[in-house]
């Protein structure tokens, strides 16, 4: 893993939570493998990282591992320094290491303690498996989960403030990594089911453990992430390694005591919700009642109870009787953040449908239809494709919702169905390039969008590793770039500008020079603070505003 520890140096007089454009975003961290064409500072020797996968204690089916590409981050190599607690095997518990410890140790081994130490992590997988496919903060923002194309989930935890390590405060370090989904094969259709994680959603925390739902195209899994920092010692019949004691040596009875141990993070699959979707799952959303959640595929939406895996209720079905009449698919769906009976789903035709589950068991008939009529003068070949909604997100307040289509972001008021209240052009300069984008399939890219904690700023991604933020109050916007080249430690992100025509200024980039292979599709905003996590292909960038990083 590439870890770049950075800080900001400049002070900012703006308070935290200010307007999007008044915030000066600072590069904080980047996680992930390098891009081939980015020059890097390499350490002397390559390290190998450890990840040990969890055994499943609920689902005893074993998937044929020959299917599985070698996806471990890990292979134990000679270069590994001996970690503390290497010999501990707590009686059958799987071994999990925390990357933080390893990284720190590795840094010591390498002799690099500077901020810019980069570990060249050799990942034995192909590059494609590392492509991040979803990013999600949990409800407090303490944990950040990413899913990738290889079916892995990596959870980062925010460092607590400690005086002893001032450089690492407020930063996200790897908390746990596990293989969530494996590639499968559908024998009926002779199709491979991708293990790519499409969505991760955290459940609101109800006890010491954290729960998250992760889904690929067909199966949703509920994972429990818990910590273990104590272990029982002093068994009468077993010795420290777990071997049975020779009974003749046992002379006195003792009561096992809980002794502290190195923190271990356990991730176990608690529930597997499978076989409910014919088509590819594109969204999952946890209900505000914390008991149910929904999963949406191209044509249907199912309602699940978190505790019941063998059945689900179908609440929306837009599959036509005759598949040949199919002209519209469901592209995203979400539950209202406060009203457990309301859900919204978007379609490929750019419409939003708000459904009330109290009205009927089947919500095929919407309660509200949000659609902006197409401007006939602006109609062109690809207008339908560009109007297809790729993401829909309710605001934290629940009053608004935001949709992302190919060229714009629209903010809708739930009380007004006729048109959005705000429309933001993301990359209007692509209008003239739509033919080419259609040809190379970029026009089908599904960008996500995010609200900030106070619903005053919205953010979405674009090409060339650009992402854009719009302040709804001041109506100002900014374009920023997530790239290693431009991310010096303690650097404030410089706003970027795309030159659409005429004379190109010095710092501007012309439309023709945009790299359409570098796209920011997935991102997340911390629920309360100005911290954003942006996924650029196989790298995860974390940016904070200066005030934030100052305070920590």
């Amino acid at each position: 893993m590439h870890l770049v520890q950075c800080e900001s140096i400049e002070t900012n007089s703006q308070g935290a939570g200010g307007c999007g454009n008044d915030i000066q975003w600072c590069f904080t961290q980047v996680k992930g493998t390098t891009d081939l064409d980015v020059s890097e500072v390499h350490c002397g020797s390559a390290c190998r990282l450890i990840l040990l996968s969890m055994g499943e204690d609920i689902d005893t089916r074993k998937i044929n591992n020959s299917f599985l590409r070698d996806q471990n981050y890990v292979t134990e190599g000679e270069a590994l320094p001996q970690l503390p607690g290497d010999d501990q095997t707590g009686g059958g518990l799987p071994d999990i290491r925390i990357f933080t410890t390893f990284e720190e140790r590795a840094l010591e081994v390498m002799g690099e303690v500077e901020d810019r130490a980069i570990i060249n992590a050799e990942v034995s997988t192909g590059r494609k498996a590392d492509i991040i496919s979803t990013v999600e903060f949990n409800h407090t923002g303490e944990l950040l989960a990413t899913g990738d194309k290889g079916g892995r989930v990596v959870i980062f935890q925010r460092e607590q403030e400690t005086k002893s390590q001032p450089h690492h405060q407020g930063e996200y370090n790897v908390y746990s990594t596990f293989q969530s989904h494996e590639p499968e094969f559908d024998y009926l259709k002779s199709l491979e089911i991708e293990e790519k994680i499409n969505k991760i959603r955290w459940l609101p925390q109800q006890n010491a453990a954290h729960f998250l739902l992760s889904t690929n195209d067909k199966t949703i899994k509920l994972w429990k992430v818990s910590e273990r920092d104590k272990r029982p010692e002093g068994y009468n019949l077993k010795d420290e390694e777990g071997r049975m004691k020779d009974l003749s040596t046992v002379t006195v009875l003792q009561v096992p005591v809980l002794k502290p141990m190195d923190l271990m993070v356990e991730v176990t699959p608690r529930k597997i919700f499978a076989n409910a979707h014919t088509y590819h799952i594109n969204s999952i959303s946890v209900n505000s009642d914390c008991e149910t959640y929904m999963s949406a595929d191209d044509l249907r939406i199912n309602l699940w109870h978190l505790g019941i895996t063998d059945r689900s209720f179908n609440i929306v079905d837009i599959k036509p009787v005759d598949m040949e009449e199919l002209t519209e698919v469901i592209t995203a769906a979400e539950f209202h953040p406060h009203h457990c009976n309301l859900l919204v789903y978007s379609s490929s035709k750019g419409t939003l449908r708000l459904c009330d589950m109290r009205a009927a068991a089947l919500c095929d008939k919407h309660s509200k239809l949000f659609e902006e009529p197409e401007d006939p003068s602006n109609r062109f070949f690809f207008s339908e494709i560009t109007s297809s909604v790729s993401d829909v997100k309710f605001s934290h307040s629940g009053r608004y919702m935001m949709t992302r289509d190919y060229l714009t972001v629209k903010v809708w008021d739930l009380n007004m169905e006729t048109k959005p209240i705000e429309t933001y052009q993301i990359h209007d300069y692509l209008q003239s390039k739509l033919c080419s984008l259609y040809e190379n399939d970029c026009i089908f890219d599904k960008f996500e969008c995010a609200w900030n904690g106070s619903d005053s700023v919205i953010m979405t991604g674009a090409y060339n590793n650009f992402f854009r933020m719009f302040d709804r109050n001041t109506k100002r916007d900014v374009t920023l770039e997530a790239s290693r080249e431009n991310s010096k430690p303690r650097a404030v992100l410089k706003p970027r500008k795309v030159c659409t025509g005429g004379k190109r200024r010095k710092d501007e980039i012309s439309v023709d020079s945009l790299d359409f292979n570098k796209k920011i599709l997935h991102m997340a905003w911390h629920p309360t603070e100005n911290i954003i996590a942006v996924a650029a292909t196989n790298n995860l960038y974390i940016f904070q505003d200066k005030v934030n990083s100052e305070m920590h």
Binding site: E324, I385, S436, Y438, E439, N440, S510
Partner: protein, 285 residues
């Protein structure tokens, strides 16, 4: 999503849209305008049509079929075809395209022909040689598809390839009465013996969606060849009791069977006829 697949697969099309990553190139004239306008409209439409058909086919053979993508491409295809039809209609009728009574001055340039699309009422307008005007308005309002002539060999070959690649050949449209003599249907015969090239064209996007459905046992049981064998057997008692149309097999999903059987039967008998013909040819040497 594989980024470069499109570029790899159809080199000739990439040459039309040189679009590298970060490559500086000359700005097109008219950059910034929303409509597709780089080249003459008809040429562009045709190229986009090819591209769309190619993409549809590509999606069929992809390991992970993307229904969303297919739907979007199919809708774009429909729109393109409508646009092309409009264009040809415009070039035909300088006085106005919405005057069905006025006969065209001459057949469409490039022999653009229009035929019916799977609507029973269209047989009267199946004269493919001319008379765009007669079908312009109805076909635009009722039938979104515009049909190109069978002379467009690249189109027909693309269509036939798509059809051959499909898992399911569920043609739910009754075949037309008339067949254009100049259309080359040989390569389509195994699948749609009596269908016109133009007819086949609107079907691929639709039939492709059928391929996304789970393989029902239905589809294998409703086999036209079986029907032909049992034709002389009186199954009326069986049918009355079960409530199914003659010739169909009762399955676990009777509802679906009932709905789709009439057209499937028609199709199956036609396919069956052709298959028998082929078999006879083979046997006869």
């Amino acid at each position: 999503m594989v980024l470069k697949k499109g570029c790899e697969k159809h080199g000739h099309l990439t040459s039309l849209f040189p679009f590298g990553k970060g490559v500086k190139r000359k700005r097109h004239e008219g950059d910034g305008q929303p409509a597709v306008q780089c080249a003459p409209q008809t040429f562009h439409c045709g190229t986009l049509l090819d591209l769309s058909l190619f993409k549809l086919r590509q999606n069929c053979v992809l390991a992970e079929r993307n229904l969303h993508r297919s739907v979007l491409i199919a809708n774009t295809l429909r729109r393109l075809q409508a646009e092309i039809h409009l264009e040809s209609g415009c070039s035909e009728m300088p006085t106005g395209r919405l005057k069905p009574a006025q006969p065209p001055g001459q057949p469409a340039s490039g022999a653009n022909q229009v035929g019916p699309v799977s609507k029973p009422g269209r047989e009267t307008i199946t004269d493919l040689n001319n008379n765009l005007a007669g079908v312009t308005k109805p076909s635009l309002t009722e039938v979104p598809f515009c049909l190109l002539s069978g002379n467009d060999s690249s189109l027909s070959s693309a269509i036939s390839t798509i059809l051959q690649d499909l898992d399911f050949v569920e043609d739910l449209s009754p075949p037309p009465v008339q067949v254009s003599p100049e259309d080359d249907h040989d390569h389509l015969l195994p699948l749609k013996p009596a269908s016109l090239d133009p007819r086949a064209e609107p079907r691929p996007p639709d039939s492709i969606f059928a391929a996304f459905e789970i393989a029902d046992s239905n589809d294998f049981l409703i086999d036209g060849s079986l029907d032909a064998i049992f034709e002389d057997i009186d199954t009326s008692m069986y049918d009355i009791q079960q409530g199914f149309p003659a010739g169909t097999c009762p399955t676990s999903q009777p509802l679906k069977t009932t709905r789709s059987s009439p057209s499937i039967m028609a199709h199956n008998s036609r396919t069956d006829f052709t298959e028998l013909e082929n078999l006879m040819d083979l046997l006869a040497g």
